[in-house]
């Protein structure tokens, strides 16, 4: 049985349905991420788990117990807020001691537990400081230490790294992974940052318009997006759509208007004529001046319309005669060359039939 069960939870605000019949089971010790664009309902769902929102339908169970009758202050969950929400009139120690005082821990035990928590988040020696004397990363660590000091069953994190700069964010990501391993507490993490989600999570639920579009391991989410939305939202993705023209064993051919026929290896048995899409990551596409003769792969001619030189890689946008833009990624790893093509160069893009992922519409 999962530790935390979200069963058919719906939350409406007036006519707007923020969370729409969502069911998720989260295992003990799991690092689980709710990922989606702003307004997709992920934060509302997190606040519903914490008890700040009352679901209009469905229930939330922890260890099999329905939490409906428990207000936030009586739930064994703890939340880390995006703004950290540190109490500005209390020192770091005061902040971390606060939940202990609220749960009537004997005052003789508090200093020891506070010290332990500050050690866990690598803030030993900062106890006497006030929040306004800390950097963003330090504030973040206080917020996490404060939430963990009472050893909650579940830690809810609402975009905790969103306010940090890129370098610090990466550091904190590694720290979060280690901390989660160390304390063994279930993390439910909300973010709109797909790379963060991929890097941190055991499993990810991609949310859109209040619904879960796909719930999977990071590599499955990235490699095998089940819907067009997931493919588009997670990383960069070419999406070629058209009616199914031909089906032959494990091979489907789509007639993409701006591109031509596209062959895809798939087990899907979609009827002829119905619409489907190929989701294809830019790094799976080969871009060459001339594709070698005799390749049975998908291959199309075009010209480089735009390029983004990013140092380690270059992103090429290739325009086909039919008017399709194909995004291809090329690592600049070959010695002696910084870049392979310029804008206006005639090129050929190609990919094997199993490079992408077929999505039935």
């Amino acid at each position: 049985m999962p530790l935390l069960e979200i069963q058919n939870v719906t939350r409406r605000f007036g006519a707007f349905t923020a969370v729409d019949n969502v069911s998720i089971g989260i295992e003990a010790g799991e690092f689980f991420t709710l990922l989606g664009p702003s307004g997709c309902g992920k934060t509302t769902l997190l606040r519903t788990i914490a008890g700040f929102e009352t679901p209009d339908g469905g229930s939330i169970l922890l260890n099999g117990e329905d939490l409906a009758d428990r207000p936030p202050e009586r739930r064994p969950t703890r939340m880390v807020f995006q703004s950290y929400a540190l109490f500005p009139h209390m020192t770091v120690e005061g902040n971390v001691a606060f939940p202990l005082q609220m749960s009537n821990v004997p005052s003789s035990e508090i200093p020891g537990k506070v010290r332990e928590a500050l050690e866990d988040v690598r803030l030993t020696g900062f106890g006497k400081r006030y929040p306004h004397e800390l950097s963003g990363g330090q504030k973040q660590r206080v917020a996490i230490g404060r939430a963990l000091v009472t050893h909650p069953k579940v830690l809810l994190l609402d975009e905790p790294l969103a306010a940090l700069d890129a370098k610090l964010r990466e550091e904190m990501q590694l720290e979060l992974i280690n901390l989660q391993k160390e304390v063994g507490i279930t993390f439910v993490y909300v973010t709109h940052d797909q790379t963060e989600a991929l890097a941190l999570s055991h499993r990810i639920a991609v949310m859109n318009k209040g619904r879960v579009e796909q719930l999977d391991e990071p590599s499955k989410i990235y490699g095998f997006p089940r819907t067009r939305f997931v493919a588009d939202f997670i990383g960069h993705c070419n999406i070629f759509s058209g009616p199914v023209k031909d089906r032959d064993g494990g091979l489907v051919t789509l007639e993409v208007p701006q591109l031509g026929p596209v062959r895809i290896a798939t087990e899907s048995n979609l009827a002829l004529g119905s619409a489907g899409s190929l989701a294809l990551r830019p790094e799976k596409i080969r871009i060459q001046a001339h594709a070698p003769e005799g390749t049975p792969d998908n291959r199309y001619r075009g010209t480089v319309a735009e390029l983004l030189y990013m140092g380690d890689v270059t992103v090429y946008k290739v325009a086909t005669p039919g008017g399709m833009r194909v995004e291809a990624l090329l690592a600049n790893s070959q010695s002696g060359r910084a870049k392979f093509f310029e804008v206006g160069d005639a090129v050929e893009v190609s990919w094997p039939v199993d490079a992408g992922h077929f999505i039935a519409e």
Binding site: F52, P72, E73, S83, H89, F98, P99, M102, P131, H132
Partner: protein, 306 residues
């Protein structure tokens, strides 16, 4: 333009801007205050005012009025009574204004301006008129006095006058000063970050604990500002005891007024004014000192939660 002339014109600009208010304060505040300080060391004239400054080649400077203040306990007693009234006014205002300010700060944005307008609405009519209105409200034939005495009569109690009593003075003092407490409290409470209360609740604090551990300590700058704005004017007020008080409700403001207008003892009136000013400044300074020592300002609170 050279940088020196830029600096010079900036200096000129600063003087142009700050000159008029400075001049105003010097002429209408600093000079009169100095005159008052000087008057406190002089002898009253035979028919009021001051005795000549130089008579028979001797300067008229003495400490007699100060000696009188410190030797006659009645003035110290009135002074203490005034402090007591001002303190009571401040506490009642605080008790009434805090929930009101909190309510306004938490009401939907579109109602807030209207509610604030209602708070300052009394300022639209004259202060004295509003005080006189209380004469009518508290008068012996008004509904309030009749119903109070009706209830008292049921218990076999003699009727009590509401008007011309310390009760009337205190009620009106609280009424007049209430907006001065509501506004700074509102300004403070309105800035509070809901996330802090959510966090406190998430960490196990019930409503009572959230108020006393989070909201109240963070609102202390507003509490102190409001208290100073109520306490200081309440300490020197004379119109309300004059109009609504009984004979025992004379406060230090009434005595000062009396010294200048009726007794015509300017030096002693000046001494009382100076003691009042020093006391008000000392109390306000003490409050500010306490505030600085124990509090975070709302701005640092915002910074910390941003």
């Amino acid at each position: 333009m050279s940088s020196a002339s830029v600096r010079r014109s900036a200096r000129v600009g600063r003087w142009l801007v700050s000159g008029p208010p400075l001049l105003y304060l010097v002429v209408f505040f600093a000079v009169p205050s100095l005159i008052m300080v000087l008057a406190s060391f002089r002898t009253p004239g035979e028919f009021g005012g001051l005795a000549p400054f130089i008579e028979d080649g001797k300067l008229d400077l003495n400490l007699e009025s100060y000696a009188r203040f410190f030797s006659e306990t009645i003035y110290a007693a009135i002074f203490l009574k005034s402090v007591w009234y001002a303190l009571a006014t401040t506490l009642f205002c605080l008790a009434l204004a805090y929930p009101l300010a909190a309510l306004i700060a938490r009401s939907p944005k579109r109602y807030r301006d209207l509610l604030l307008l209602l708070v300052i609405l009394p300022f639209w009519s004259n202060f004295l008129i509003r005080v006189y209105a209380w004469m009518i409200i508290l008068g012996p034939n008004a509904a309030l006095a009749r119903s109070v005495n009706g209830v008292l009569g049921l218990f076999g109690h003699e009727p009590v006058p509401l008007l011309f009593s310390s009760f009337a003075v205190l009620v009106c003092l609280v009424y007049v000063h209430l907006p001065f407490m509501v506004l700074p409290l509102y300004a403070n409470l309105e800035k509070h970050d809901q996330a802090l209360l959510d966090a406190a609740q998430d960490l196990g604090a019930n409503a009572w604990q959230r108020f006393w551990r989070i909201t109240f300590p963070l609102s202390l700058p507003g509490v102190f500002a409001g208290s100073a704005l109520v306490f200081i004017p309440a300490l020197g007020i004379f119109a309300i005891p004059d109009i609504l008080g009984g004979p025992e409700d004379s406060l230090i403001g009434n005595v000062i007024k009396q010294q200048f207008l009726e007794t015509r003892d300017w030096p002693f009136g000046s001494v009382l004014s100076i003691v009042l000013t020093v006391a008000a400044l000392a109390i306000a300074g003490f409050a500010a000192w306490v505030a600085r020592r124990n509090l975070v300002t709302p701005s640092s609170a915002r910074e910390a939660s941003a």
